[in-house]
Point group: C2
Chain length 518, copies 2
């Protein structure tokens, strides 16, 4: 596999899975040309006039969709680790004797460990999408036939829209649907909130199969997925395990170090003057993130501040802020708990968004760059503020990118991270895998201090007079290296064997993930 | 202009405005091939990161959109006869010295008489879209440079989607919008309910300009038009006259004949067994239609019947039925009065729909064919149940098709029409212009009796034992001809001069409108 150095100085292949790749040119340097993908024109003549698209089972739907060797099959991950459908889907495909598929999930989870046997026996050729946990480990060991392709949520929409990835058959798990294929995630026993990750699939796939365990009479309202894009509807007993689809409990961290980080984050947002009337915020669902949201909330209340919008993954903490009038809107990309689902179902100010709306870099703008402050995590950060979210320091690919890359476009991007994990420093000389260019990462907040990207003179000036523990990133690094007994050992990687590639938001190749030598 | 006879026996040209045309092949006989239209791929690099797309004025937006001679400019008609923006738009274009445009409105109204001077001076080459009133008369007189193209609401979406009509610049009147271009019609002083007629334009036009008289901070919620599809935002003092955008009063007919028709319609729906729990209905806003809805409502209440959904154009009468629990949902394509706007704003069960969802014949089904009964009007019907909605018996083109053709796909299509108007029979030997093939029209209800299409043996049987005045269409015709003193004189038409063409829902040519010799 021939590798070249891209504009970020990272080695990337010229092609992957037989497709030519464009290497990363620098942030905002690559401009696409050409036209969007163009699905086939259909006709109502070929669809039932009474709108009833229900077929007997998944096998019939797949068969009528023309399932064949080498096709691309897509799924979404709104059911997270509670998803039973994707496993059922590939069990069915295996029984049909189909081989060599490209699986194009918006993400995969530990529950999908079940599919390793299909990667081994060639039913699935490779995965394009986040590989959280076992499937990522499998890929890291060099066992996947093809090369994994990691994209952000926005990058996935972009790839489909631009025709980079043609989906033959999309299979959309739908907690509620009608016979016509209108579907939503806000109601039903498998309610997951919304179905935005499946939007591109529904719009661009050749064939679209909606699978539900809650079939309702037409019309299914709201229709987050439009039946007008759907070919077949399948009813199943259960889409998965509701307790794992939404956890029901989202725990704030109890770690003193993490609580300190959370406090620093809230303090920084206040001190930098970001927390003012009409501001906006993106927060995730990790324990530290939840803690900082609670801390910020108290500050907002104390100062009589109201946000214009907050972006989720929504949790009960964001919902409380909406219901207490601390924000006008939640603009939500996925719901993380039952309260998020309830709020989205009941409250028109809890708005469901899609990767098209929020993150697609090949649109006429997107929401991500309008957010005043985004608080994110990372597995590693280097002294140039470059960050990694997909591999651990041991080289194993264990996480997806999610919306992380897209969120870097916020007006102030903060990485809230512990300075070390398991006695391994998180701040390093060079990240194992580059997922986010340092020029887009503004602030690193650890329990040992806050480092502001030197490019952000405005932020440095804004917090100058605060009592925050502002340090250089080198200072924090040295302190941590000393505690941990030196810099971490580099993982042993086979640099001739690319197991996955990391795309930037514009579809170019930012970095490669290499095989781990164990 | 070379004309051929199509499958309906009507004379249609082989080409119009320099574009080849496909002649009508029969209902459900023409199947499209090929791929959908493909807009250019854009990049966030070219749009402001802070999301602010506001430019100084319409001229600047048009200029930045690359306005040039011969382009296609689209507008929507949700502001109906209160629309001031379209006139302002073409005043601006005229001042910019641009010529030879194709104007592609979803419909035009009497208020657009203002534009006749631009049709005369060559600013506008021709109109593709409904011409209600003066512009239709202008075309009928053979004064328009190009050939008018009449499409149904669904046909307009289909034409854009299929790439038949490429929109260079879409100008979207938006009663509320934010700086990013998210827009809706439910709030603001010019509130019109929804913006569904502009959906295709926003998705497929090269450049999209949102014009608003109510600019709100991001995010404008709900976003019926997505800012991610918008290039520029323009603020104006006023989009138009709110009293004409939504009438505020919708009057039930007081004519005894029309009231009788309305009563027959409600009686028929009951007698035919259509009015049962979970049924669905499409009703418009004409005086007769309103009266029949009121009459049906009483029957539903008396019998404890609840509908699953009602399709609008919504009026206060439909809203009352929703609020009184007589229907689960209103699925609404346009709001006709203030109560409709309020209900759509406040009630999540009053759902906004688009021509894509409701009517696009080149989709994977649409809503129209799922409706149990649709009650429509017509200017003429012939003895084979073929009907006309665009021209009067004098040959003048005075109306658009609207969703009429699309609604013919309902399970029972009723034309509720007076048997004569101004002493001119409405039931004729042959319609002046064919807009709807008789095989899709099931029942004609006049004040003199009800004619059921002989193809619908099931309906004939269903009402056999009722006391309804069932007659053959010939019987009604003879009766009316006698009253009116014979069959109506045929209009004098110049059959060598096609002034407009009528498309069927699949994009084929159903009929021609000819120049009137006055």
């Amino acid at each position: 596999m021939k590798l070249i150095k891209n504009a970020a100085g990272r080695l990337v292949p010229l092609e992957a899975n037989g497709l030519k790749q464009i290497s990363f040119k620098g942030v905002n340097q690559y401009k696409p040309s050409g036209l969007k993908a163009k699905p086939p024109i259909r006709s109502c003549i070929d669809y039932p006039l009474d709108g009833n698209k229900v077929v007997k089972n998944l096998k019939e739907a797949l068969s009528k969709s023309g399932l064949n060797d080498g096709m691309t099959i897509s799924t979404h991950h709104h059911l997270r680790n509670g998803d039973a459908l994707t496993n059922l889907l590939f069990d069915t495909i295996k029984r049909m004797g189909i081989k060599n598929l490209r699986w194009f999930p918006s993400a995969s989870f530990p529950v999908h460990e079940h599919l390793i046997k299909y990667l081994e026996d060639g039913t699935i050729h490779h995965i394009e999408g986040s590989m959280n946990g076992p499937l990522g480990k499998f890929a890291s060991e060099g066992k996947m036939r093809g090369t994994g392709v990691l994209r952000s949520h926005g990058g996935r929409y972009q790839a489909v829209q631009d025709g980079e990835v043609h989906i033959d058959i999309a299979v959309i798990a739908s907690p509620t649907a009608d016979e016509f294929g209108n579907a939503n995630g806000v109601t039903g026993k498998s309610a997951c909130g919304l179905l935005g990750f499946a939007l591109a699939d529904s719009e661009y796939a050749d064939r679209v199969i909606v699978v539900t365990d809650n079939l309702v009479p037409f019309p299914c309202v709201p229709w987050q997925i439009q039946g007008n894009n759907v070919d077949f509807v399948v009813e199943v007993a259960s889409l998965g395990d509701p307790t794992k689809i939404v956890s029901g409990t989202t725990e704030v961290t109890k770690s003193p170090d993490r609580l300190l980080i959370a406090e620093y984050v809230a303090d920084f947002i206040e001190a930098a003057g970001i927390m003012k009337n009409g501001f906006s915020l993106q927060a995730g669902a990790g324990g530290t993130n939840l803690a900082f949201v609670l801390s910020l909330k108290e500050k907002m209340k104390a100062n009589g501040i109201k946000a214009r919008f907050m972006r989720g993954g929504s949790t009960k903490y964001l919902v409380e802020m909406l219901e207490e009038g601390l924000t006008d809107y939640i603009l939500d990309g996925q719901t993380f708990d039952l309260e998020g689902v309830r709020s989205m179902r009941e409250n028109p100010d809890h708005v469901n968004t899609s990767p098209f709306t929020s993150y697609n870099f090949h649109g006429k703008g997107n929401f991500a760059s309008m957010v005043d402050v985004a608080v994110l995590g990372a597995t590693e950060v280097d002294i140039n503020f470059n960050a990694n979210v997909v591999t651990h320091s041991d080289g194993y690919l264990l996480h997806g990118i999610g919306g992380w890359q897209n969120c870097l476009y916020s007006k102030c991007t903060i990485l809230a991270i512990p300075s070390f994990r398991d006695r391994i420093p998180v701040i390093v000389d060079e990240v194992t895998t580059l997922c986010g260019p340092g020029e887009l990462i503004d602030v690193i907040i650890t329990e040992r201090g806050i480092a502001i990207n030197p490019l952000r003179k405005d932020l440095i000036k804004a917090v100058k007079k605060s009592s925050l523990p502002i340090k250089t990133i080198q200072e924090i690094k040295e302190e941590v290296d000393e505690i941990c007994g030196g810099i971490p050992t580099k993982p042993k990687l086979d640099k001739d064997k690319v197991v996955a590639i990391v795309k930037w938001v514009d579809g170019t190749l930012l970095d490669s993930v290499f095989k781990v030598i164990s």
